[in-house]
């Protein structure tokens, strides 16, 4: 059942002279929902971009489905990259209407899939906005379109960077339900970055804390919240961590 999807060992990412990510060990299994939490600037988005095979690590090893993709390894192939989708923290929508934005990734693959588009629009409460230009959307609407654009691709792996940061409670639960159903119905693997520890608790099978680029610990969500090994995890969960 449990198949290893990612294995990162001593994985680092440096920008100029600054080491932003320095993860000693992280393993992600197929079919799980993993939440990455941590304060602003901890390197969550950077780690996610590494997992999305978008940037080359500075050093260390990153195995994706058993293939080394870090320094010295293979350059990730298109087929490999198309198994995953990442939704960026800022919704980077194209200057077209909502439907065209959602169809974008399908078009890249030479697909049409009209029903899938309609279904995703419906699922994220965007049907009425289908013809609206993406530039005129509110922050929360744009964020949902950005998520829809990724979900419609039905990739086995979904990497989400703060997908509910701009949303009201109703839309937060809409999106959490969507994530849950992707995970349950298609056994998709989801890595979700969030500031919100409660969201991690509601959604994730396992939760990891990132501090200053280091992975403090990765635990089953229950243990992460109730009996963490590290004092810093306990402090972060209580909300009184001094950064």
């Amino acid at each position: 059942m449990s198949e290893l999807l990612y294995r990162a060992t001593n994985l680092t990412k440096r920008y100029e002279e600054r080491t932003v990510v320095d993860v000693a060990s992280l393993e992600i299994e197929r079919g799980e929902i993993l939440a990455l939490v941590g304060p602003s600037g901890a390197g969550k988005s950077t780690l996610l971009r590494l997992l999305a095979l978008l940037e080359a690590p500075t050093s260390g090893s990153l195995q994706f489905q058993g293939v080394e993709v870090a320094m010295g390894g293979a350059r990730p192939s298109l087929a490999m990259r198309r198994q995953l989708t990442m939704v960026f923290q800022r919704p980077l929508l194209l200057n077209r209407n909502v439907t065209a934005n959602i169809e974008y990734g399908l078009r890249l693959r030479g697909l049409k899939a009209k029903e899938r588009v309609a279904q995703v629009l419906e699922q994220l409460g965007l049907t009425d906005l289908a013809r609206a230009n993406a530039r005129n959307l509110s922050g929360g609407e744009a964020q949902r379109v950005s998520l829809a654009r990724a979900m419609v691709l039905e990739t086995p792996i979904l990497l989400l960077d703060e997908p509910t940061a701009n949303l009201d409670p109703y839309n937060v639960s809409l999106i959490e339900n969507a994530i849950r159903s992707i995970n349950q119905q298609r056994a998709a693997t989801v890595v979700i970055v969030t500031h919100n520890v409660f969201q991690a608790r509601r959604l994730a099978h396992r939760t990891a804390l990132l501090l200053d680029g280091h992975l403090v610990e990765t635990l089953p969500t229950e243990a992460f919240f109730n009996a963490p090994d590290d004092a810093r995890t306990a402090a972060f969960v209580r909300g009184d961590m001094v950064y």
Binding site: R81, T85, F88, L108, A150, L159
Partner: protein, 235 residues
């Protein structure tokens, strides 16, 4: 005098002779070919400078900015010296090198004058895109070419302005074109050089007729490019 010249100018346009038609044809040919080549060089260069990091990029950009404001007459002088019979290119006698006093020489000068403008404005348009956009497109499964194309489409308003700026510099050019083309009737006389000539001769009506035609061509070309830009402006 102005009003009378204007009426006379309109009459001249309406009964255009072959000499006038020829001047217009040469102008359109030089402007069209120069703009296509300047865009074909400038747009990719602008995209490249907007996206890639490499050693010496600052120097290239500094040179580009210099090129954007470079006096066309100096470019004319430069091309003149290159192409003259004793110049480094003229000496080769190659069929690829245009002769001095030909439309080819004028096109060469026009390209050198206008492509830095196209490249510079394209670069600015690309730099205006979100720095994460390319990665987001890759994350949605785009190949490098697909991502590049999408970014060009996203920057379309700016890229079109780059082309319009290039067009403006080409269609209004006189000095360099006069130097390397020679303003020869029937072969290298363009609208701008003909205006200079007619004005010197005191033929104000003719000069004005030519000026009106130039204005019209410029307006039609820009209106066409604006149509291309189309919806992007309405939203």
């Amino acid at each position: 005098m102005f009003g009378k010249s204007l009426i006379e100018a309109l009459r001249l346009i309406l009964q255009a002779d072959t000499a006038l038609a020829n001047v217009i044809a040469v102008s359109l040919q030089v402007v069209g070919i120069s703009l296509v080549i300047a865009s074909a060089l400038g747009i990719p260069l602008g995209i490249f400078l907007g996206l890639k990091r490499f050693v010496g990029k600052r120097l290239v950009i500094a040179l580009l900015y210099t090129g954007m404001g470079f006096p066309p007459v100096v470019v004319g002088l430069f091309v003149y010296m290159l192409l003259s019979r004793s110049g480094p290119l003229g000496q080769l006698g190659s069929p690829l090198v245009p002769a001095l006093y030909s439309t080819g020489a004028m096109i060469m000068a026009q390209i050198i004058i206008s492509f830095p403008l196209v490249a510079g404005f394209t670069m600015a348009a690309v730099l205006g895109l979100d720095s994460h956009l390319r990665l987001q497109l890759h994350a949605l499964g785009a190949t490098s070419w697909q991502a590049l194309w999408t970014m060009l489409v996203e920057a379309r308003v700016g890229v079109l302005i780059a082309v319009i700026a290039g067009f403006g510099s080409i269609i209004s050019e006189v000095g360099a074109v006069m130097m390397v083309g020679g303003n020869i009737e029937g072969s290298t006389r363009t609208l701008t050089t003909a205006i200079v000539l007619e004005t010197r001769k005191g033929e104000f009506s003719m000069a004005m007729a030519l000026g009106l035609i130039l204005l019209l061509i410029s307006f039609i070309a820009n209106a066409a490019m604006l149509r291309l830009q189309g919806k992007a402006l309405d939203q």
